[in-house]
């Protein structure tokens, strides 16, 4: 039977199942295949908070969403068009993210009496009519998988582990994906176990054939390649990009990299990644606590290493006093905060942008420090590279803000050419004549980096107030006033050394949507849609949050209204209002979830009223 093929611009699929159902792997395979086929895409995993939640319960549900298209894709998608649900609990948890009229593919074996009870369904949603507004496809994946492997006499546990490949096979058929990439992956992954190669390959092909030959599915879809910039790509998550960015920065600074860190969700993957790169001479130190994470890094920085500490909000709270020490001793240090829901322990696995004020202001005394934010998963690479550049050139700690959403999300990344990355090396002081630890470069106000082991430059630094130039302890009123101002001025002058703010869209208009961090893709999508409708709206996304680009005021004053959407109660907006005295409007959502483009679009409509 020849089936109908419909061409789509973009699709969002969500794979959902029990933690043990292999949904992350399935989603990852679909992602890689789509990337290789030339689609632009964006993905978001959704792990359960519990490590080993009871099977088939709602808190054990694991999901993976992929948004791919023939056009530019900037977000993992507001809603999914297709939901693959391996059991009742995963349907229950994920149904609210499915668009009206969307496709549901369920494994009917996951909807037995026990599954339904554990998921909290009084009766089966498959038969009670509650799914009537969706296109429901029921497939007994478990049974079909068993049949496929019946002659191999494998233990049932192994058979169960292959059923996600049946689902993947069906989805590959439905979206015209080439299976070769995944078949090759199976070969590589199980090369020590030919039985597993055989089983997984068979089950995936069975899924494909089932979709092709039975009349359960009448329509298949085609999503053509997107017009991407030519070059070599790989898929990358935010935490991976952070790790690679630091390796690149160390290389380009010609310094050894030292990471002092304490495990914390959602930042631990950076520590894991960097621990793997020992052949780059990288030293990773899993410290006894957050404080030792940063103070060990300060020690390494004193010794001349490119020093890094990685954490999330609660960890930054603990590191705060030490950040003050780095500011006072004027040592370079990169601090990465992968933000999560707060306050206190908050929502460790959920995203939030509520640590901006902590980053900019959250220390005792007058303690300014540069703050850089990453806007997408791959942009984490640029953010930490830029933070390293600033830290080394200005002898200061720099805070990098990412968040759980972009740290775990991934997107295709145009791999940068190493030769084109800027040289960010600095020279250590060597000349012992006329050395004073706190003499400053006239232009940057940065002091010189003199490291132990250099003859004739022996000096002492510390957390007590320094005398200008000599760095000796000094309690004089005028000196303290001067040093406070010098440290502040040093940070302010970085504004001369960063790119100007540049809006996407017209430089003047009715409304400017200003954002920072992980909301980039969503804001961009929403603003572009509204522009297509003819609305006078532009988008500005800030990467440097302290200091701001020099021209930020001018840029803002060119618009009648300013809208600042944030995943917090309004933090950037506070700083903008205070600095530029503008009556900006906030849009704030604090649910541990990213914005949906639709939410931004509705707000844009509201702010602009009936205006076209």
């Amino acid at each position: 039977m020849d089936k109908e093929t419909r061409v789509l611009d973009e699709v969002t699929i969500r794979f959902a199942g029990d933690s043990g159902d292999g949904m992350q792997l399935t989603g990852g395979q679909f992602t890689n295949t789509s990337a290789v086929m030339g689609n632009d895409l964006s993905t978001l995993p959704d792990y359960p908070a519990e490590i080993r939640a009871p099977k088939d319960t709602t808190y054990g549900v694991s999901g993976f969403q992929i948004h791919f298209g023939a056009t530019e894709i900037n977000t993992p998608g507001d809603h999914c068009d297709v939901l693959v649900a391996m059991n009742a609990a995963s349907l229950k948890v994920n149904l609210r993210s499915l668009a009206d009229g969307g496709i549901i593919i369920v494994n009917t074996d996951g909807f037995g009496a026990k599954n339904l009870k554990l998921a909290g369904y009084a009766q089966s949603p498959l038969s009670d009519g509650s799914l009537s507004k969706y296109q429901l496809f029921q497939v007994d994946i478990t049974k079909l998988t068993n049949l496929t492997l019946a002659d191999m006499n494998l233990p049932q546990k192994i058979v169960d582990k292959t059923k996600n490949f049946f689902a993947l096979g069906m989805m590959y058929w439905m979206f015209n994906r080439v299976p070769e990439n995944t078949l090759q992956w199976i070969q590589d992954k199980f090369k020590k176990d030919p039985e597993l190669i055989e089983a997984n390959t068979r089950v995936m092909k069975a899924g494909w054939n089932y979709a092709e030959t039975t009349d359960v599915f009448a329509v298949k879809y085609e999503v053509k390649p997107a017009p991407l910039t030519p070059g070599r790509y790989r898929n990358i998550s935010g935490n991976q990009a952070t790790a690679l960015g630091m390796v690149a920065a160390a290389e380009k600074a010609k310094l050894p990299l030292f990471l002092g860190s304490y495990p914390i969700t959602p930042a631990s993957d950076i520590l894991h990644e960097l621990s793997n790169f020992k052949n780059f001479g990288i030293k990773t130190f899993q410290a006894e606590d957050e404080i030792a994470g940063i103070t060990s890094a300060i020690g390494a920085s004193f010794g001349g290493a490119l020093a890094l500490t990685t954490t999330s909000g609660p960890g930054v709270a603990l590191k705060t006093e030490a950040i003050g020490l780095a500011i006072m001793t004027e040592l370079p240090l990169v601090i990465v905060n992968v933000q999560r829901g707060g306050p206190s322990t908050g929502l460790p696995t959920k995203t939030e942008q509520a640590d901006l004020l902590q980053a900019v202001y959250g220390r005792n005394g007058e303690a300014p420090l540069p703050v850089v934010a990453a806007s997408t998963p791959s942009d984490c690479f640029n953010a930490v590279f830029e933070a390293s550049r600033i830290a080394l050139k200005y002898m200061t700690p720099v805070m990098v803000l990412t968040d759980g959403y972009i740290a775990n999300g991934s997107e295709p990344w145009l791999i940068p050419e190493v030769d084109k990355l800027p040289d960010i090396s600095v020279k250590f002081r060597k000349d012992p004549n006329n050395y004073l630890p706190y003499l400053r470069n006239e232009k940057t106000l940065s002091r010189e980096w003199a490291i132990p082991g250099t003859p004739g430059l022996e000096h002492r630094i510390g957390g007590l107030e320094k005398q200008d130039k000599t760095g000796n302890i000094n309690y004089e009123p005028e000196n303290h006033d001067l040093m406070i101002r010098l440290r502040a001025e040093k940070v302010e002058r970085i504004a001369n050394d960063i790119p100007l703010a540049k809006v996407e869209g017209n430089e003047k208009g009715d409304l400017l949507v200003v954002g920072w961090g992980g909301t980039y893709g969503t804001l961009k999508t929403a603003v572009e849609r509204k522009r297509k409708e003819g609305k006078s709206v532009s988008h500005l996304h800030l990467k440097h949050l302290n200091p701001f680009p020099k021209n930020l005021g001018e840029v803002l004053y060119n618009f009648d209204k300013i809208l600042v959407p944030e995943i917090n109660m309004g933090q950037l907006i506070k700083i903008l209002r205070e600095k530029y005295l503008i009556p900006a409007i906030g849009l704030n959502k604090i649910q541990g979830l990213p914005f949906r483009s639709m939410e931004i679009e509705l707000k844009i409509d509201e702010v602009l009223g009936g205006k076209k």
Partner: protein, 349 residues
């Protein structure tokens, strides 16, 4: 791996330089209270360093907060007067990043055992090659006289007007319990002994922990006089010397013998015991070290002073270097280009 660091730092000592104690004293006025025990410790360190045959620029002194932590300012070496309790963690990072340096930690009973207790136990278990001098004066001096984690129970201070109710730490036992590979105790008023211990600590490969009884003549004067003053010292202190029996007393007339696992005092004059009955110190024996450390605070036993334990154990920073070397020999020196292009990649034409 060649980095910018290699361009400035001294690689190895080309010809031994003759230093004197004065070369290690900085131009800053020393500002401890007159009569403070810290002066003697500073002088002892400055006297020992010239003997170690290490270029001056390789020394780094790191301190936290407290009276003792002013120490780095008075040393003409690299130094950092950091924040309360964190000197051990900063020193750990520095030594791991720069194993070529001789890293020293100056701390006190409050800085090192109270606010910095966590970092202290962890540096000891890791055995990072830093030398920790813990100035124990059993009081908070800088904040003007509150009781400390080593103050005796019942201590009356500004913050404990009716006497403290907590039991003090025994720093030597704590260091041993943390896995310390070199644990010693010495006295501010016995410079010769102190210098000997500091030298041994400097030569030890791994973390060295020295508890120094230090008199705070302003807030806790005489806390250790029983162990440091001539009239009482010899009856109250037993000096631990490797391979030698534990003898003490004005006329060397007393000794320590083991009764089961418990040390007891025996007389060498009453005809019932001779030196042959006494416990022989072995600084390589960690079980013995625990027994000796636990003599501290025992009302009937003399206070043990000297090296409790000096054991060889792999150094953390060596293991780190070893892993790096083996990763390089297995996978080749890391190449950024290759790393960025690793994993599944694809090309868009």
């Amino acid at each position: 791996m060649n980095t910018m660091i290699d361009e400035v730092v001294t690689k190895e000592l080309i010809s031994p330089i003759k230093y004197s104690a004065k070369d290690f004293s900085s131009d800053q006025d020393v500002r401890w209270c007159p009569g403070c025990g810290d002066y003697a410790i500073l002088a002892s360190v400055q006297r020992v360093l010239p003997d170690l045959n290490i270029p001056k620029e390789k020394y780094v002194f790191i301190s936290g907060i407290g009276c003792s932590s002013r120490f780095p300012y008075y040393m003409n070496t690299y130094g950092m007067h950091s924040i309360h309790g964190r000197a051990t963690a900063i020193a750990s990072g520095l030594k791991i990043a720069r194993p070529d340096l001789s890293v020293w930690v100056i701390t006190g009973d409050g800085d090192g055992l109270s606010i910095g207790g966590n970092h202290m136990i962890h540096v000891l278990r890791r055995n990072i090659d830093v030398n920790i001098l813990l100035f124990n004066n059993q009081i908070y001096g800088l904040t003007k006289g509150q009781y400390s984690p080593t103050s005796e129970t019942g201590k009356v201070t500004k913050s404990t007007p009716l006497g403290s109710v907590d039991m003090p730490f025994n720093p030597a036992a704590l260091a041993l319990g943390s896995g310390g590979s070199f644990v010693a105790r010495t006295l501010d008023r016995d410079p010769k002994h102190m210098q000997g211990i500091i030298k041994r600590a400097a030569e030890h490969q791994g973390t060295s922990f020295i508890e120094i009884y230090q008199n705070c003549n302003v807030f806790n004067d005489g806390a250790f006089f029983q162990f440091t003053e001539k009239e009482t010292k010899s009856d109250s202190v037993v000096f631990l010397e490797h391979g030698k029996p534990l003898v003490f007393g004005k006329e060397s007339d007393k000794g320590i013998k083991l009764d089961g696992f418990s040390p007891v005092v025996v007389s060498l004059k009453d005809g019932q015991h001779s030196v042959d009955d006494l416990l022989i110190h072995n600084e390589k024996d960690s079980t013995l070290a625990f027994i000796l450390a636990n003599m501290t605070y025992h009302p009937e036993l003399p206070r043990p002073v000297g090296i409790f334990l000096a054991q060889d154990r792999p150094k953390y920073e060596d293991e780190v270097e070893r892993q790096i070397d083996s990763a390089i020999s297995k996978r080749g020196r890391g190449q950024l280009e290759k790393l960025l292009n690793s994993g599944d990649t694809w090309t868009i034409q």
